[in-house]
């Protein structure tokens, strides 16, 4: 199984927040969405996804309701809280800044190769 260290530390939370920002969604849906959007690069196992979801819920960034789903069973749907929304904005911005910076640093090294 893919190790969660495949993703840089802390990025899973950001990805989850981003996916949930698109509308109420259950855990399985989040995993599917991540895999789909990333073209199978990001595969999040249960053992990482659910602890992360519960952690975000516990921190008050996500909230959840049990709702009837397409399978006919009740499923737990996660939504962003206002705090989650602002956290997402902040983290996304800082992520972009960081990746740009890292890109700048890596560029000359990549050119030399």
């Amino acid at each position: 199984m893919p190790d969660k260290s495949d993703l840089p530390q802390g990025t899973l939370d950001l990805l989850i927040l981003q996916v949930v920002a698109g509308g109420a969604i259950h855990g399985y849906g989040i995993a599917q969405r991540l895999q789909l959007i990333s073209r199978d690069v990001v595969q999040v196992p249960q053992g990482s996804l659910y602890p992360a979801l519960h952690r975000l819920e516990n921190r008050g960034l996500l909230t959840a309701d049990w709702k009837m789903s397409d399978t006919g069973r009740e499923a737990k749907f996660y939504r962003l809280t206002p705090r989650g929304r602002s956290e997402l904005k902040e983290q996304a911005a800082s992520w972009v800044r960081l990746t740009e910076a890292i890109g700048l640093i890596l560029k000359p090294a990549g050119g030399a190769r």
């Binding site: 199984m1 259950h26 855990g27 399985y28 995993a31 196992p45 249960q46 053992g47 659910y50 602890p51 519960h54 952690r55 516990n58 049990w66 789903s69 399978t71 069973r73 009740e74 499923a75 737990k76």
Partner: protein, 883 residues
């Protein structure tokens, strides 16, 4: 949130978590099926890729927990369940630890109290006692002029005082029956130095302690209560002291204050009969001084030595070579005793041994159990427990175990103290048997350390190994060779310590048994004793004293029910005087001449108190008068000093020794008294130990002022004693009789402390034996369980029951052999120590040692054969299936 709401909430969360994760799996399965897999394949695939459901759950729970603390409750509950489930292990571990800690605690408290450090005045360790040593190494007190010089010149004390222990003082002529009490003559500032104030009335003033001052007295609170009904009017009352001086009571000391040991009456030094403030060579006082902070005893010694040197220059005729002897109260009263008489330390050592044994035992139990639990631990790791969780869980179990044991131990010692306080109180007023917080803390630390260390070490090992390893091996209850070596070393240590303890206890018990067998030589039934001191003012001559006791006897025997009446300077079991035996048949028996015990008795003594003489006859009416000097010796004396030949008719010369007690010089009598032996008495103990060579002298010869009156009669001690009191006061209304004790009481008291220690020793030894047996039993039982499959295979291949049994007996045989190898030298060392100090029995009592080895071997055999037999009863087929 109330606990049940929290519980409901947790249940709901659990349910939701389960539903959520299952929903995820169902969706994945559905996805797989849609992609064309069979449902079973899809499920298998998911299990392989996403790991166990329980691990995911545990990870989610971890996220939700606000802090590790929240688990504590769960861990505690779980620990409790585990301990309750393994009830034999738990009971064994807790009892072992609790008993050992209880014993250690009570023993320590007793020993600590015995050291007399807890005196009832402020910071007793800061009060020094000063006496003197002369050029010949003889210890004496301090003379009044020396005391004054020292007090004036010494700069090292924060107050100095002097005191004289007077023995008994009688109080009377105050409307109540005359009574005797222990008295102490003190300089005016004594209580200031001790920093104790009277509970009622005032302290002595300097003006009370001047020659010619009006006589005053301070009484103890028990006199105040018993004699004066705790009335405040007691202040200002007059009471006669020793039949003469009418003294005014000016104060009452607080409850429990008896300085210096049993004292109940304090009088100013100036009232001391024959007190002299002039003579430098009468060294009858002892001096106390309070040390200010920052000054130690060495400083005091240096300072007083300097002054002593000056004094010896100024007064060479009296003070040449007289040096100060400075000790703390603790050293003066216990240091010497402690160094020479390790009886006080033996039980403590024994208790430490037993604590060690118990710890080793517990360690073994925990080791065995932890190995047993390696599978449980592996399972917990498999379902997502982190290593810290496991370690914490085991730590909590150990803590719980130690805590319960500790609480039990405190309970045990509380009970033991309650029981022994009532026994010890009247014997030793300063024995403060009370719980010591420091010690309880220490014991808790020992318990935690043992349980923590040995509970955790194997757990760490088990949790470190891979999950799969644990699961594979766990079923077979494996123990590593390392744990086994540990376990065996612990057992060997236990057996060695136990042997040493048993041998010591055996020797001690045997010795005291030998001592107490002598008590059959005394007729104790219905006999009551009291102390009579005839004041020298009224009874100046021996004739007057003989006449008093003659009248007393006549009056008493006229009372119906009174059978006999006799006097002795020391009743049986009480401490007797000492004299120097300067010659036997004209030659000194040894150089320097030995001291022997002497008891002055009247002629009835050997018929009424002792069960008759072995040889010869008792004193006649004339013995003791000029020309009829006679003595009766005890068997021990005859054995030691008279050798072969009849003791009757042999000649002795006795002289009182130079000093009879600390602080008081008794002038040496110039002429030794020659006496002829007319009889041999059976041995009687005069004190707590064995009988010693003793010479009995006739009452007529000296008619001492203070004697013990021993009266036997029917109707109970109270009736007999009131008859004696009536008789005494009919002759002399001022005469006080001392404390009343039956001979039985005296006997029990003289046995009290040593016998108590011996029995404690024996109890501790027994406990050690039980612990060692338990330790071996559990080790073997555990080995049998661990090797069940191996046994089954062996038996299936044709091994006999004997062979299988031997497999395990071999282990215990090695343990016993190892224990003996270490234990025998240890036992000899303990025995040697005992012989040096207390027991005076043969330390190489090989029979005793052999018996103890046999006891130990039998216990080891039983402890190992029971579980070993279980191994042989296994059905190979069943045993192989046992997981």
């Amino acid at each position: 949130m109330t606990w049940w709401r929290r519980l409901l909430r947790r249940r709901a969360l659990e349910r939701e978590l389960d539903a959520e994760l299952r929903d995820h799996i169902e969706r994945e399965v559905a996805e797989g099926v849609r992609a064309g897999e069979s449902e079973a394949d899809a499920r298998r695939q998911i299990r392989l890729t996403s790991g166990g459901l329980d691990q995911v759950k545990e990870a989610c729970r971890d996220v939700r927990r606000p802090a590790a603390l929240a688990d504590l409750g769960a861990d505690l509950r779980f620990a409790w369940r585990i301990l309750a489930k393994d009830r034999w292990f738990t009971a064994g571990a807790i009892l072992t630890l609790a008993l050992a800690m209880g014993v250690a605690n009570t023993t320590f408290i007793g020993t600590y109290a015995n050291l007399w450090r807890d005196l009832p005045f402020e910071r007793p360790e800061r009060v020094a006692i000063v006496r003197t040593v002369d050029g010949r190494g003889r210890v004496a007190g301090v003379s009044y002029p020396d005391f004054e010089d020292w007090r004036r010149d010494a700069r090292v004390f924060d107050g100095m005082a002097a005191a004289f222990t007077s023995g008994t003082i009688s109080l009377g002529r105050d409307g109540a029956v005359p009574e005797q009490f222990d008295g102490l003559y003190v300089s005016a500032d004594t209580f200031t130095v001790l920093r104790v104030k009277p509970a009622l009335g005032r302290d002595f003033l300097a003006s009370d302690d001047r020659p010619g001052a009006e006589a005053v007295a301070i009484i103890g609170s028990n006199i105040w209560k018993s004699r004066y009904g705790a009335s405040r009017d007691v202040l200002g009352r007059k009471v006669s002291v020793n039949g003469t001086t009418p003294a005014t009571i000016i104060g009452v000391m607080p409850d429990g204050f008896h300085y210096v040991d049993f004292t109940d009456v304090w009088l100013p030094l100036s009232q001391m009969p024959g007190s002299t403030r002039q003579r430098r060579d009468v060294r009858a006082l002892y001096m106390i001084g309070r040390l200010p902070d920052g000054i130690d005893l060495d400083r005091v010694r240096a300072e007083l030595s300097r002054i002593a040197t000056n004094l010896s220059v100024m007064h060479p005729e009296t003070n040449k070579d007289v040096r100060p002897l400075v000790n703390s109260h603790y050293e003066a009263y216990n240091g010497g005793l402690l160094l020479t008489d390790s009886l006080t330390l033996m039980p403590l050592l024994a208790a430490a041994f037993v604590l060690l044994i118990a710890s080793a035992n517990l360690a073994n139990l925990l080791l065995a159990r932890a190995a047993n639990r390696s599978r449980e631990i592996a399972i917990r790791v498999a379902i997502g427990a982190t290593r810290w969780r496991i370690v914490r869980q085991l730590l909590i179990e150990s803590l719980l175990l130690a805590l319960v044991a500790w609480v039990l131990a405190v309970g045990f010692s509380w009970l033991a103290l309650k029981l022994s306080t009532s026994q010890v109180d009247p014997l030793l007023p300063y024995w403060r048997l009370k719980m010591d917080v420091r010690l309880l803390g220490f014991l808790a630390a020992v318990a935690l350390l043992t349980t923590g260390l040995f509970g955790l070490a194997p757990a760490l090992y088990a949790s470190r190994r891979g999950t799969a390893d644990g699961l594979k091996e766990g079923g077979r209850l494996s123990a590593t060779p390392k744990t086994r070596r540990w376990s065996h070393a612990l057992l060997v240590g236990q057996f060695a310590l136990t042997l040493a303890l048993l041998n010591g206890a055996g020797l001690t018990a045997k010795t005291f048994y030998k001592f107490y067998r002598l008590d059959r030589n005394v007729q104790t039934s219905d006999a009551v004793t009291t102390f009579v001191r005839l004041p020298p003012q009224t009874y100046a001559t021996p004739e007057q004293r003989v006449a008093f006791h003659q009248q007393m006897r006549d009056r008493l025997l006229a009372v119906p029910g009174i059978a006999t009446s006799t006097v002795a300077t020391a009743a049986p079991f009480a401490s007797a005087g000492r004299r120097r035996l300067t010659a036997v048949d004209g030659r000194p028996p040894s150089d320097p001449p030995p001291d022997v015990r002497t008891v002055v008795v009247d002629r009835e003594y050997f018929h009424t108190v002792v069960r008759g003489l072995i040889l010869g006859e008792s004193f006649s009416e004339w013995n003791g008068t000029a020309g009829h000097e006679a003595a009766i010796v005890n068997q021990r004396f005859a054995d030691v000093y008279l050798g072969a030949g009849s003791p009757i008719g042999r000649h002795l010369e006795l002289r009182p020794p130079a000093t009879v007690r600390i602080g008081v010089v008794v002038e040496e009598s110039p002429q030794p008294t020659p006496v002829t032996i007319i009889g041999v008495s059976p041995d009687i103990r005069q004190g707590p130990g064995d009988a010693v060579p003793t010479v009995y002298l006739p009452f007529r010869a000296e008619a001492p002022a203070g004697v013990t009156l021993i009266v036997r009669g029917s109707g109970g001690p109270a009736r007999v004693m009131s008859a004696a009191r009536e008789a005494a006061n009919a002759i002399d209304p001022d005469l006080a009789l001392g404390v009343v004790r039956t001979l039985d009481e005296l006997r029990d008291r003289s046995r009290g402390i040593p016998a108590g220690m011996a029995s404690q020793f024996a109890k501790i030894g027994g406990l050690a034996l039980v612990f060692s047996g338990m330790g071996l039993y559990s080790a073997i039982a555990y080995a049998v369980r661990r090797r069940t499959q191996e046994i089954a295979i062996r038996m299936a291949l044709g091994a006999t029951a004997t062979h299988v049994r031997w497999l395990f007996l071999k282990t215990s045989a090695w343990v016993v052999v190892g224990g003996l190898a270490v234990g025998l030298p240890a036992s000899l060392a303990v025995g040697h120590q005992l012989q040096l100090n207390v027991v005076r029995a043969d330390s190489r009592d090989s029979l005793m040692l052999l018996a103890m080895v046999a006891v130990l071997a039998i216990v080891a055999l039983v402890a190992s054969i029971v579980p070993a037999r279980r191994a042989t009863r296994l059905e190979p087929a069943t045993a192989l299936r046992i997981d």
